[in-house]
């Protein structure tokens, strides 16, 4: 099962761009890379998912190099409300029956503190 490594904590200031890098050296061919955000006393919330190159949505961008052994979550112009824990996961290919029995492994995540 793929395992991820990411920084335990990061600090930033309002208005800055934040990049959180995740290492996943043992990523499998069928694995997607997914990022979740978790606020205190809440369940994790999906942010973005990608397979290769670059994915962008209304809240973040995800950069994945060609070897897929790492990925970088980019949060543009963070605000105080972006203070949360961010988890990087690798797991089964979306909709693949081969992946239906693989469980996702969540690490400790990256605790991001955005300061005024």
């Amino acid at each position: 099962l793929a395992k991820t490594t990411q920084p335990i904590s990061m600090d930033s200031y309002e208005g800055q761009e934040v990049n959180i890098t995740c290492s996943h050296n043992n990523i499998a061919t069928n694995d997607y890379i997914t990022w979740y955000q978790q606020f205190p006393s809440q369940g994790p919330r999906f942010i973005i998912q990608g397979y290769k190159t670059k994915v962008t949505n209304e809240v973040a961008s995800l950069f994945i190099p060609a070897d897929r052994k790492s990925s970088t979550l980019s949060l543009p112009r963070v605000s105080l409300s972006d203070t949360a824990v961010y988890y990087c996961l690798v797991g089964a290919f979306q909709g693949s029956s081969a992946g239906n029995n693989r469980k996702l492994i969540w690490g400790l995540g990256t605790s991001l503190a955005v300061n005024p």
Partner: protein
């Protein structure tokens, strides 16, 4: 409902008591997951259902933990003879199809065993 709901939100149990935690997934979602999250840690997988079938229960820490989803919708996680080390937040998530899909999480049930 609009999202995944869990009840109760908070549960205090005396050591040795049995507890039952409920999860109402998003209507129509095929997959349902239970996770345990200790303070300061990431969620740890407990078990996974596809409809009513429990396809993976490898994460259940002991035979005191039991989960069911008899009609393929609502699920219950039962913990028998609770121990202090069972104190954690129990998260439920559902997804439209399988593991690779986006998981939608409930708010969790915080269990405290005294």
């Amino acid at each position: 409902g609009a999202g995944v709901s869990q009840s109760p939100r908070y549960k205090v149990a005396k050591r040795g008591q049995d507890v039952a935690l409920r999860c109402d997934p998003i209507s129509g979602h095929v997959s349902l997951f239970w996770y345990q999250q200790a303070l300061g840690q990431g969620p740890e997988f407990l078990t996974y259902f596809q409809n009513e079938a429990q396809l993976d229960k490898s994460g259940l820490p002991s035979d005191r933990f039991f989960a069911e989803r008899p009609e393929g919708s609502v699920s219950t996680l039962k913990i028998q003879r609770t121990q202090q080390e069972d104190s954690a937040v129990y998260l439920c998530a559902s997804s439209p199809r399988g593991h690779g899909d986006t998981q939608y999480f409930g708010p969790g049930t915080r269990l405290t065993v005294l």
